[in-house]
């Protein structure tokens, strides 16, 4: 294909030039951050190898990878627990956030009554209330899920409310001239208009959820990445500690990708809007 484009017509020549420029920038977009990461890892390795920072305080990247490989089956087990907590908490958080947003959009009274509470709930430091939750709800699933719900419903609620309000009032007037019911206006106009912002909120909530689960696990539990983290910290295995941090990052990234995928499936019209620009 690219061979054909080398024909000396000026149009196709400039096209090829543009294409290769785009190609170059795409490779650059991948390679540049890769170099940064690799560079940092090399510096890290050297700093420890040369004894600038003693090895008992900081494991080298190679040691971290070794720890990850050694402990992988253990970590996978713990990760499964964390993921289950995350999934349950996130689902409840989304459902709750959705319900609150719909009620606040539908009833002005709800909006006025709940708006300050919703905001205040976000100023509560998660780490501070986590021990209380453990005290009240024990070492099981409940305190983790509750903590996740508290941290995740807010981005969902806020994004949905502003999404619902982003509908052009003229659309609502037009639909009223068509005798649309409130439910129909919600279903045809408000809900799709909020989809974009909802998924932005969900992306944030998903990362909060994993971190929330890990924090809750620090304070008590039998399994989970937070529990594993506490154990390896107490045994001073910092290499395994870094390994589990990598796993948590990877899980968060994976979850964000999953949200992206879900968004692409749920919003097919978004691609059409993207193509236009």
């Amino acid at each position: 294909m690219s061979r054909q484009q080398h024909r000396p017509s000026s149009a196709s020549a400039s096209q090829t030039a543009a294409a290769s420029r785009a190609g170059a920038s795409r490779t650059r977009r991948v390679l540049t951050p890769l170099f940064t990461v690799v560079g940092l890892l090399v510096v890290w390795e050297l700093v420890v190898d040369l004894g600038i920072i003693p090895n008992f305080l900081l494991p080298t990247p190679i040691q971290v990878v070794e720890a990850l490989v050694d402990d992988i089956s253990l970590i996978v087990g713990h990760a499964a627990t964390t993921l289950v907590e995350t999934a349950i908490g996130l689902l409840i958080g989304v459902a709750l956030g959705f319900a609150i947003a719909v009620l606040m959009d539908r009833f002005e009274g709800f909006y006025l009554a709940l708006q300050p509470l919703v905001t205040i709930s976000q100023t509560i430091p998660t780490i501070a209330i986590a021990p209380l939750l453990v005290l009240w709800f024990g070492y099981g699933l409940a305190p983790k899920v509750i903590l996740i719900v508290i941290t995740t419903f807010f981005p969902i609620t806020v994004s949905l409310i502003s999404g619902f309000r982003s509908v052009d009032p003229d659309v609502i007037d037009l639909m009223r001239t068509m005798n649309a019911s409130r439910w129909q206006i919600f279903r045809y106009a408000k809900l799709p208009a909020a989809a974009d912002q909802f998924f932005s909120g969900l992306r944030i909530s998903a990362t909060y959820a994993i971190v929330g689960a890990v924090i809750a696990e620090w304070l008590g539990g039998n399994s989970g990445l937070g529990v594993y983290m506490t154990r390896v910290r107490k045994s001073f295995s910092y290499d395994r500690m870094f390994a589990v941090i990598i796993v948590i990052s990877a899980l968060s990234l994976g979850l964000m990708k999953l949200v992206d995928l879900l968004q692409r499936v749920c919003m097919p019209w978004k691609r059409a809007e993207g193509n236009k620009r």
């Binding site: 052009d168 003229d170 659309v171 005798n179 799709p192 208009a193 019209w269 809007e273």
Partner: protein
């Protein structure tokens, strides 16, 4: 089910009497329930007639359309559809705005079907009803496209088709072409006038563009007044425009056009 049936009723309904399709009787309107914005306007639209209401921006044009469509209640006065009082009840007349207001999340065919879907027509049936119209509205091949994939002129046509599928006897149009660029505007306007004749539409078009009003309608109501300056809008007069002189040529280049335009401008003050 109204939207589905009325096109069949059209003939009988408009044939019954001498009542105009749409009549406003001495409407007085307000934004806040206190200050009068529009003072006792009366107007009529006969069956199959396209009438324009021309006025400056901010003279309460949209307020009038909201009252005519039943979205708001007038302080006083009545709106009649074929002699029947519809004051303050939405859903009796079709309404089209300056913005196309297509729902970005629905394909064109589902957008134009919206009025049918809203009254409970099943999706397949609504689609079957809309499909044959695409050719006629110059939108063939766009059925499964997303609104974002259409040009401004095409989107406005789709909005017009949706308005048509509302199936009401009277169509209100609020500056329907002003969002388009100048060349597209003339094109879409011509196309609209042709379609209106072909479909036998009874339409009231509100605009601030005197040229547009004069070139579209046989009768032009002129709205004068400055509500922001404390002078409520009122109808300063009605101008009859004779389009017959133009024949097949461009009406905007004829003497008749200029005479009518001057008359409208004088009334606007």
């Amino acid at each position: 089910m109204r939207a589905g049936v009325t096109s069949a009723e059209k003939g009988t309904a408009s044939g019954t009497g001498d009542e105009p399709a749409l009549e406003a009787r001495s409407l007085t309107l307000s934004w806040d329930g206190k200050t009068t914005v529009v003072d006792r306007i009366s107007l009529t639209v006969a069956a199959g007639e396209v009438v324009c209401l021309v006025g400056r921006s901010g003279c309460g044009k949209t307020t009038i359309l909201h009252a005519l469509s039943g979205l708001t209640r007038p302080l006083s006065g009545q709106v009649l559809l074929h002699g029947e009082d519809i004051t303050g009840t939405p859903g009796h007349v079709s309404y089209m705005l300056q913005k196309d207001l297509l729902l970005p999340s629905r394909r064109i065919i589902d957008n134009v079907c919206l009025p049918l879907l809203l009254v409970g027509v099943p999706r397949a049936e609504a689609r079957a009803k809309a499909e044959p119209l695409f050719e006629r509205f110059g939108l063939a091949g766009t059925e499964e496209k997303w609104p974002a994939e259409l040009s401004g002129g095409m989107r406005q046509r789709a909005a017009f088709m949706r308005t048509y599928l509302m199936g009401a006897d009277v169509t209100l149009l609020d500056e329907p072409f002003s969002a388009l660029d100048a060349i597209t505007r003339v094109e879409v306007r011509r196309w609209f006038c042709g379609m209106a004749r072909e479909l036998g539409l009874s339409a009231l078009v509100i605009t601030h563009d005197v040229d547009e009003a004069v070139s579209m309608a046989g009768r032009v109501y002129v709205l004068a007044g400055r509500p922001s300056g404390g002078v409520p809008s009122h109808i300063a007069g009605e101008v009859h425009v004779d389009h017959s002189a133009a024949g097949e040529g461009d009406f905007a280049l004829t003497q008749g056009f200029l005479v009518a335009k001057r008359e409208v401008l004088t009334l606007l003050g």
